[in-house]
Amino acid sequence: MESNGDDVARILRDIEALKDTKARIEHRISVLEAQLQETVSLAPRKQQNDGVCNVSCPPISAADANLANGLSSDSVYRYSRHLLLPSFGVQAQSNLLKSSILVVGAGGLGSPALLYLAACGVGRLGIVDHDVVELNNMHRQVIHTEAYIGQPKVKSAAAACRSINSTIQIVEHREALRTSNALEILSQYDIVIDATDNAPSRYMISDCCVVLGKPLVSGAALGLEGQLTVYNYKGGPCYRCLFPTPPPTTACQRCSDSGVLGVVPGIIGCLQALEAIKIAAAVGEPLSGRMLLFDALSARIRIVKIRGRSLQCEVCGDNTTFNQEHFRDFNYEKFTQSPLSTSPPKLNLIAAESRITSKEYKERIVNGEAHVLVDVRPEHHYEIVSIPKSLNIPLASLEARLPEISSALKEKQPHEGVESGANLYVICRRGNDSQRAVQYLHKMGFNIAKDIVGGLESWAHDVDPNFPMY
């Protein structure tokens, strides 16, 4: 019995000694980490633009850990509701605190994703975006406030994240993601969230995640529908396994053209945060090899089984040679035939003599010229705003409604029977569809048809600043 008591005392002494050593080692680690952070943040600053971090960030520090479970007392309190979850608990939360997640795009999807990721205690949260906050973003990009209109989205989003959680590291990448910087940026994080809005970016991010071996949480939303899946996770498929050939550009609609109900990307963005949290915390079953399809109007969520990794995949297949060098040289805009930025295309389809500027058109109105103005936008666009006395014939129904144009022209003819009477002008939102319409009208014998360059956007810009734009 007595020897037993001696043993206990000896073990207790050993534990005390080890704890003491552990505390001293931890102190040394935190001193060294602080030193490292200083060195890293000082040295490369010279080559940085805007003071935005684009160098390798130091590993996430667990220096404030003063409890056996690695969580500080503040952390225990802040994340207590996570810790109380039997299926999450201390282990998952400390995994989260040690993880790093990059969100590409601080828009409709990125906004809610970032808010939740900052709140839940992801150790390092990176944000990439090159855009500025605009008024027409506010209905869905809920991370931004009116005060930030005109300012970089990254700055606005980072400020919001910091105000929610000052204890995590927020990294601002105020630049467009390109093949030239993607490897460097993505390699600093454990998990990548694709919250972008265009096809070339989606291929580029997926390929980059494959060559770097990072799981990718991919979400998309448009109109009243959303889609979500996890790519490149533990042998699962990548974006290219599913979509080896890019879709035709006409099938790639933009929110700025087709519209989007604000809460729809909100829901998908929240689900993206959830999937990223599950991967980072190592809990549950990530949505890999499955895809979630959300239809807001019918209130239906469908989860479908998708193909696994394709052995023939050009990027992640068995015989692929695709590597970082190939990635850097790959032209994603050419591959998808669409630009990495979401700026709308500016077509130039017809000869200059068949086009007039909005200012010239205004002069013709002032001079009382007899004419017909055909607005070829869809009906629901026309309902938003239109130029008075214009005739709305959507491009899709132009063929069937040509007689309406003929009779409108006849009505406007100054003198009965005079052939060279009223002129015919065509307008749309930005001046692309109006050119397509004029091309068609010329073919159908309406040789007088002229396009108004730049459409209603240029009308609002150059002629009538009070004309509402959307």
Binding site: G105, G107, G108, L109, G110, A195, T196, D197, N198, A199, R202, G219, A220, A221, L222, G223, E225, G226, Q227, L242, F243, P244, T245, P246, P247, P248, T250, A251, C252, Q253, R254, C255, S258, V260, P265, I268, M291, L293, D295, S298, R302, I303, V304, K305, I306, R307, A396
Partner: protein, 99 residues
């Protein structure tokens, strides 16, 4: 054969903005089964009212369209050769890029 066809991700615009179609598809003459290949040609003839190139390319769907038979990617069931059965649900969904 009674089938439920669903169009999503913008493909419904090609069939008068109707997403769900309950249809009755006859077996091709002399055939004993209906395959996805048969169904695609039936859909192009009977449901797609405009811009057929937005749905088909060659004898299959265009790139960017996912086809799901009973909530399962048709790649897993043999693509065009997938055999359809009574009351099957076939979903055609265009991948979204927006955000």
């Amino acid at each position: 054969m009674q089938l439920t066809l669903e169009f999503g991700g913008g493909l419904e615009l090609l069939c008068q903005s109707v997403k769900i179609h309950n249809v009755n598809v006859d077996l091709p003459k002399g055939a004993e089964k209906l395959t996805m290949k048969d169904l695609l040609s039936w859909v192009s003839t009977n449901l797609i009212k405009e811009r057929p190139e937005m749905f088909m390319k060659g004898e299959s769907v265009r790139p960017g369209v996912l086809v799901l038979v009973n909530d399962c990617d048709w790649e897993l069931s043999g693509q065009l050769d997938t055999t359809l059965e009574e009351k099957d649900v076939v979903v055609f969904i265009s991948t979204l890029h927006g955000g």
